[in-house]
Symmetry: C2
């Protein structure tokens, strides 16, 4: 336990979680993923799902989003880092990219001497359809 032990052993459970994330494109909660694994017949404990997701998140292999609802959502980290535009009403999500934002965040953090920088950004609004339905 002296060195930074991340994930040192390959286990059936971790593989299951990884595979599942590879299959599911969008965001899913830990509880969600656990339920899906159960349905598939994979026997993985809820605790393990949480731990694995945390590990993967720490390792930067997956993204975490924390919507106002309270549940954390995890997603396989696609190469292109991008952000989310979420409709307040229907929950529809659009993925958007913002290279300018990335560099801005890096620059600002660097200016204050911060290192190992990451960031989260979410844009909320009302999508055209909901706005129309709202009358």
């Amino acid at each position: 336990m002296t060195d930074e032990t991340t994930i040192v052993r390959n286990t059936r459970q971790r593989a299951a979680v990884r595979d599942l994330l590879a299959d599911c494109e969008g965001f899913h909660s830990a509880q969600d993923l656990h339920a899906i694994l159960r349905e598939r017949g994979e026997r993985v404990g809820l605790t393990t799902v949480y731990r694995t997701l945390q590990g993967l998140a720490d390792a930067g292999e997956i993204d975490v989003m924390r919507p106002p609802g309270g549940e954390h959502l995890y997603r396989r980290c696609s190469e292109g880092h991008h952000h989310h535009l979420v409709c307040r009403d229907c929950g529809r999500t659009v993925e958007v990219e913002g290279p300018a934002v990335e560099t801005w965040a890096q620059r600002v953090a660097g200016k204050h001497g911060f290192v190992d920088v990451s960031h989260t950004m979410e844009i909320f609004g009302t999508c055209p359809e909901c706005a129309a339905a709202r009358s």
Copy 2:
């Protein structure tokens, strides 16, 4: 029910929460604020603090930040909208402004037809001191 029932009555409790937020510059959790009110002798229920904060947040009078820790943090909304650079280790927070980000968010959301746009952004990193201490 056609009209948005926001806050229709002025009560001692709501005033207390507002005043408190006016005093405290930084971010505070609901539980925090409640404890402070208690110490001050103001008798305000925890439930009411939560409700009031939610109302104020909805009305756009205060900002909400949701750090990884899980506790929601509320802050009196200063006129200049700005974001936060948070140290992962010591929790030190630096306020940063990014006009470019604001306009970018608006533009991107608008491009997708979204209206009534708001956004949240947080930058995480390791501050110089913690980075040094980390060796």
